[in-house]
């Protein structure tokens, strides 16, 4: 009932832990059963170890949080040697989120990681780095070029993660599809800013950061809906999903699977609650599977 498929990869349920909110799984494994997830998208990795941005990196605003972590991670070698073996013990699909500061780095990362995981998620949307990330992801030509090159060398399906910080996200979705992406995931965080009126300073050291949480959900649902009209590859939807009702909205808008992020910080049991909620909803409304919900909005 809950099983979904993305380019031949079967997820036992459509809930994926969103990259950047779940570490490498190890941290949450002390608290919840990682087997509950259909998939886990790991903390974004780069070729070399990355220290990330200076403090403060986090602030809270109405309905969400702004972060500027800046891709802090131990680098691909540590990921492969120290983190992957642990994650592989669980019955969940592993999605490696990869980040290059130029095209060559994306290619190199895909070569190293793709034979070892179920899928890779090419992050063309991180708002918190100066080069690469969103800077590439805003330009359909760059999205096309990088996706095509990564696809050539990848041994597993390729998901391209898109940024919402553009005029028309469907242009990026179409570029990724044309270049051979197996799926797209959207949305990454929305560029945002908050100011402390007493000190008159920004609440984030980098001045701007990425907004996540319930505040961005309606934007994300709209973007999933728009992309669903324009591409034929599966869409993984995310952005402010806090409960099963939010998840159902994403399926109706056109998402085949969903990622949950900020909610993991608030309620580590969210995965199990959302799973049960989706199942109950399907039964109550006479649907046989999640697949029946995908894009099943009545306009």
């Amino acid at each position: 009932m809950l099983e979904v498929e993305i380019s031949g990869v079967k997820l036992k349920n459509p809930i994926i832990a969103a990259s950047g909110t779940f570490g490498f799984g190890r941290e949450f494994s002390k608290l919840i059963d990682l087997n509950l997830f259909g998939g886990i998208s790991t903390k974004g990795i780069t070729l070399k170890k990355c220290a990330g941005n200076p403090q403060p990196r986090l602030c809270e605003v109405y309905g969400g949080i702004i972060n500027s972590i800046g891709l802090e991670n131990p680098g691909v070698e540590a990921f492969v040697n120290d983190e992957l073996p642990f994650l592989k013990k669980f019955n969940t699909k592993i999605i490696a989120n990869i980040n290059g500061f130029n095209k060559e780095e994306f290619i190199e990362l895909a070569k190293i990681v793709s034979p070892l995981v179920d899928m890779i998620e090419v992050n063309l949307s991180c708002p918190n780095i100066k080069e690469g990330g969103m800077a590439f992801g805003k330009d359909p030509n760059r999205v096309y070029e990088i996706t095509k090159e990564v696809k050539k060398v990848s041994a597993c399906p390729v998901i391209v993660k898109l940024t919402p910080n553009v005029t028309d996200i469907t242009e990026l979705a179409k570029a990724a599809e044309k270049a051979g992406a197996d799926a797209i995931s959207l949305i990454n965080t929305v560029s945002a800013m908050a100011i402390d009126i007493e000190t008159r300073r920004p609440l984030i050291k980098m001045v701007t950061g990425g907004l996540s949480g319930p505040a961005i959900k309606p934007i994300a649902v709209r973007m999933v809906y728009e992309c669903f009209q324009k591409v034929n590859i599966p869409i993984i939807g995310m952005g402010g999903i806090m409960n099963y009702k939010d998840a159902i909205e994403f399926f109706l808008a056109g998402a085949t699977a969903i990622q949950i992020g900020t909610v993991n910080f608030v309620n580590p049991n969210a995965v199990s609650e959302i799973r049960k909620g989706i199942e109950n909803y399907l039964k109550a409304h006479g649907f046989k599977s999640v697949k029946d919900l995908v894009g099943n909005i009545i306009i």
Partner: protein, 254 residues
Amino acid sequence: MKLLDVEIAENKMIANGIYLLSFESDYLANTFKPGNFVNILVEKDSIYPLLRRPFSISFVKENKVFIGYKVVGKGTQILSQKKKGDSINVLGPLGNSFLIDKFNGKVAVVGGGVGIFPLLSLCHELKKAGNKIDVFLGFRSRSDLFFVEEFKELSDNLFISTDDGSIGYKGNTVEVFKTKIEEGNYKVAFSCGPKPMLRFLKSLNLPFKCYVSLEEKMACGIGACLCCSIKGKDGNMLHVCSDGPVFDIMEVEI
């Protein structure tokens, strides 16, 4: 660590804007070590505040857990209005703990403001281990004082200072500590307080080990979100929630 729904036993103001909250939890009371903290979800299904809030555990008494906090924003403001019987969700115990040992000589404990909270159980355990303890506590003003009697009982010498001089020494508690270093002949120091205070403490280049409990904004409290990263001495990134909150003061950038 566990996620626990607990019922508030008491939540009272003990000084100017400073509260002490307690709840019963056999699990937390049995697993707690001085320095540990908890991540509290103040209100379920709330979108502002959205995140959990980290608080150090001040002390435990039988199966009762005591958390001290100061009202500084929306989350703590809502928490301060909670009454006996209200439910909150607690994730803990989190983080590492202070080193408890029988030190061959005197121990100095230096606390400022709400940083004083985690030091009470520390002093209790240090005393139990057979140590002599000098305690230095800094407050803004006389109306901000709390736990003075408790620390008096646990310490061999207690030095109080206030920013405005309304009680005790006038000025910074580290300043007072500095004047006592030589005669104190300390073997180790423990501290928790605001960053400027800890920076001052670090600048003293103490001739003995000094362990500090740090604070940073955090989302998950378990090392996954990487919001609370700080730089270690060798440039390595450390996380206040999972590598700390207690660090050797010389091993971290403050």
